[in-house]
């Protein structure tokens, strides 16, 4: 069971807050229940799957697209504050009912998304209690998620710092390795060069007496 509580300001009573509770099973498109409360009274009604299909047909809108619009209007509260209009019209004579309607604003044009008749609830106190309890449960759940994410955040930051430290050490180690290997290579190479110089000197000395001998002969 999914539930969403939000506040609305009916077009005909802009100064009055109503609390809108939408309840549905998994998919909004299979039907949903609307509960409206002004914190004193409460009204409830349902929109069935068939009614959703009919509404979409009447609007010549693809059903999926229509359900998405309903989700944005009633559940997500998506878009700017005045993207969706709601209205609550109480029948002056019949206090047991009220008409709840919702429409979408597009620039200068509004188009009706849907409407339904809500029946007054005999025990509004229970509805209001349930509404507040749902809000408190949401707060507790979000708080727990926030704490979890914060811990996760700290762990990730710590991990990042670790890897960053390892990277710096690796870069340093690479530079040290290069310098170290060159140092060692220079020492060994210079030994060879010293040997070559020595051999060249000996060869020169060895070749000179032979020339002298040839000269004497």
């Amino acid at each position: 069971m999914e539930k969403k509580v939000s506040r609305i300001y009916p077009v005909s009573e802009p100064g009055t807050i109503y609390f809108l509770q939408v309840t549905w099973e998994k998919d909004l498109g299979t039907g949903f229940m609307i509960t409206l409360s002004d914190a004193q009274s409460a009204w409830a009604g349902t929109v069935s799957e068939a009614e959703i299909s009919k509404e979409a047909d009447d609007m010549e809108m693809e059903r999926e697209k229509y359900v998405e619009e309903l989700r944005k209007a009633l559940v997500l509260g998506a878009g700017p504050a005045n993207m969706y209009n709601f209205d609550v019209c109480k029948d002056g004579e019949n206090v047991e009912c009220c008409d709840f309607s919702y429409e979408k604003n597009l620039k200068d044009v509004s188009f009706r998304l849907g409407s339904l008749k809500l029946q007054k609830v005999s025990s509004p106190t229970e509805v209001i209690k349930e509404l507040i309890c749902h809000c408190l449960d949401c707060i507790a759940e979000l708080h727990a998620k926030k704490e979890h994410l914060q811990k996760e955040n700290e762990r990730l930051l710590s991990d990042w710092n670790d890897v960053q430290g390892q990277l710096e050490k690796c870069v340093e180690a690479k530079e040290e390795l290069e310098a170290d290997l060159y140092k060692r290579f220079i020492l060994v190479l210079n030994e060879k060069k010293a040997k070559i110089r020595n051999l060249q000197k000996l060869l020169k000395e060895a070749q000179e007496p032979a020339e002298d001998t040839a000269h004497i002969r």
Binding site: L181, R184, F185, L187, V188, E191, K192, K195
Partner: protein, 39 residues
């Protein structure tokens, strides 16, 4: 012995690398490992 010492001095440098025998990866690593910080 002095003779052996003399022989090795002719054949190898002070780090134990042969003057004449071609080196390879294993040998050069071995030679490098003998070089200490003081060198």
């Amino acid at each position: 012995s002095p003779d052996t010492k003399q022989h090795f001095a002719c054949e190898y440098d002070c780090y134990g690398d042969s003057y004449t025998a071609d080196t390879d990866l294993t040998q050069i690593k071995e030679v490098f490992s003998r070089i200490n910080e003081n060198d």
